[in-house]
Amino acid sequence: MTVRIDEAYEFPHRHLLGLRDYSSRDILHVLDQASNFLEILNRPIPKIPTLRDKTIVNLFYENSTRTRLSFELAQKRMGADVVNFSSSSSSVSKGETLRDTIRNIESMKIDMVVVRHPSPGAPHFITRCVEAAVLNAGDGAHEHPTQALLDLFSIRQRTGRLEGLKVVIIGDISHSRVVRSNIIAMTRLGMEVVLCGPRTMMPLFVEEMGVRVSYHLEECLEWCDVAMALRIQLERQGGGLFPSQREYHERFGIKKRHLKEFPHFVIMHPGPINRGVELESEVADDPRAIILNQVTNGLAVRMASLYLLSGGKRGPS
C-alpha cells in the first residue's frame, strides 16, 4: 500500500507580458482556471473578495473600449480597488516620461499594473521600473496576450478541444498584435494555423513562426475549423495597402454564401467589427459566430489572469 503525495502544479509567472514566455501547460492552466471564473458571472451576487487588498492601475496610452471595460469589470468583480489612467487627460501631455509616470504611480502603493501602450516592449520596460505585477493589454504590434487567451478559451468552449484544430486568420496580419499572440499560443498547443490576407498586409518570413500562408479565402474556409477575421484598422490605412474597402470585402470578407457552402467552420472576430468589410452583416449575427461569447469569456480570462498574478504580499517600496 502506498500513500500518494499531491504534487500541485505551480503557476510560475509573475507577469503576463506576452504568451512567448508561457509554456503550453501555463496557457492551459490559465484557460482551466478561467472556466471556473465564468460561473461567478452568473451568481446572484457576482462579486468575490479575493483581490480586496489589491490596488490596480489601468494605464492606457492608447484608446480602448472593450479591453479596458473588460479589465475594469474583472477587477471590480474581484473586489480590487481600481484607478484609471488615460494618456490624453494626464501629465503625459505635459511631457512626463513613462518611467516617471509609472514610478509616481507606484509610490501610491499599487500592486498590479495593466498597461496598453503604442510602443512594443513598454510593459517589459515597466517591469524593470516597478515591483508591481504587470499585465500587457496590448503593446504596439507586439502582443495582446489576454485577447489570445480569450480566443483560445472561446474556441475550446465551442469545439471541446484545441489540439489538432485548423484555424485560419484573415486580414491585416502585419499590423496585428492579436495575431502574434495567437500564433505563438496556437502553434504551442498543437493547432494548425493558416494566415490569409492581401500580400501588402502579410509580413515577410512569417512562416518562421510555424504557420502557412494562403491568398485564397475560399480554399481556407473549406479547410478550416475556425475562421478568425481581424479588424481592418481603418485609422491606420493611410498607406493604401488595399485599393478599397469594397475590394477587400470581395476578396477577403466572409459572406453569407460561405456559410452555406462550408457548413462547419466557427466564426470569430476580436471586435470592433466593420460590418460589410471583414464580415457581411448577416454573418456577424449568425449562430456560428461566437463574437459575443468572446467578450463574456474575456472577462473570465482576465479575472483568472489577475488572480494567478496576484500572489504574494506587496513588496517593499
Binding site: 500513500v3 500518494r4 503525495i5 504534487e7 502544479y9 505551480e10 472556466s35 460561473e39 461567478i40 473578495p49
Partner: protein, 203 residues
C-alpha cells in the same frame, strides 16, 4: 487492507525523491460505510418533510463525501436531494501569506438557496477557517433558511469559534500529523488515515 500502523514509502516524483511516511488507517471498508449511513440518517433526522433539505459538498473531498451521503439518503428515504459543489478558494484568508495562488476549482450550485436547509460537507474540520470561507461564499448565492455543518473528521486545534453539527469521527491529533480522508474518485479507495510526513533520516 485493514486497520493498523505501518511505515510506507510514498509515491512521489518530488525532489528529494522520497519521503518516508508513517500512516495509520483509522477506519476503512465496512466501518466507514456505516459512518456514511449514520450521517445520512442524521441529516434527515430533524426534518418532518425533506423538501427544503439540500447538501453542499466542499471541494475536493467534501464533494465525494457529500455524494456518498446523498446516495444513502436516496437509498433509505427514496428522495433525491439537491446536491451542490462549492469551492471556497476565493474567500480564503490565507493566500496572502504565500507567493503562489491556490488552484481554483469548480463551484456548481444548480438550485436556488432561498428557503433551503443546507448541510455543508467537508472532509476535515481543523482550524475552522475553511468553514468560515464557505459560509461567506454561500451568502453570495442567496439566503438559505439554515446552514448546518458536517465533517468526516474533527481533529481539533480550532482557531475560530466553529463547531460541527454532524461528525464522522473525532480524532485527537498532534499539529505535525495530517488527517487524510480518502475517497474512491480521488484516491481509488475509502479510508481515514493519520499521516506523519518526515525526511528519511528523522524517522
Amino acid at each position: 487492507m485493514k486497520r493498523g500502523s505501518c511505515i510506507f514509502k510514498a509515491e512521489s516524483h518530488q525532489n528529494p525523491p522520497c519521503f518516508v511516511v508513517k500512516a495509520q488507517i483509522l477506519r476503512t471498508g465496512e466501518e466507514l460505510d456505516r459512518t456514511y449511513m449514520r450521517l445520512a440518517h442524521q441529516f434527515v433526522e430533524p426534518f418532518e418533510r425533506l423538501d427544503t433539505l439540500a447538501i453542499i459538498g466542499m471541494q475536493t473531498r467534501g464533494v465525494d463525501i457529500a455524494r456518498r451521503i446523498h446516495g444513502y439518503i436516496r437509498h433509505f428515504y427514496s428522495v433525491d436531494l439537491p446536491l451542490g459543489i462549492l469551492d471556497t478558494t476565493f474567500y480564503r484568508d490565507d493566500f496572502r501569506t504565500r507567493m503562489k495562488m491556490p488552484t481554483v476549482q469548480i463551484t456548481d450550485i444548480p438550485f436556488d438557496l432561498f428557503g433551503k436547509d443546507l448541510v455543508l460537507v467537508d472532509d476535515v474540520l481543523y482550524t475552522g477557517r475553511t468553514v468560515r470561507a464557505a459560509m461567506d461564499a454561500l451568502m453570495s448565492f442567496g439566503r438559505p433558511s439554515s446552514v448546518r455543518f458536517c465533517c468526516m473528521v474533527d481533529r481539533g486545534h480550532r482557531e475560530l469559534p466553529v463547531m460541527a453539527d454532524y461528525v464522522g469521527m473525532h480524532v485527537p491529533t498532534h499539529l505535525n500529523e495530517e488527517i487524510r480522508v480518502e475517497t474512491m474518485p480521488q484516491d481509488g479507495r475509502e479510508a481515514v488515515l493519520v499521516v506523519t510526513k518526515a525526511q528519511e533520516q528523522t524517522l
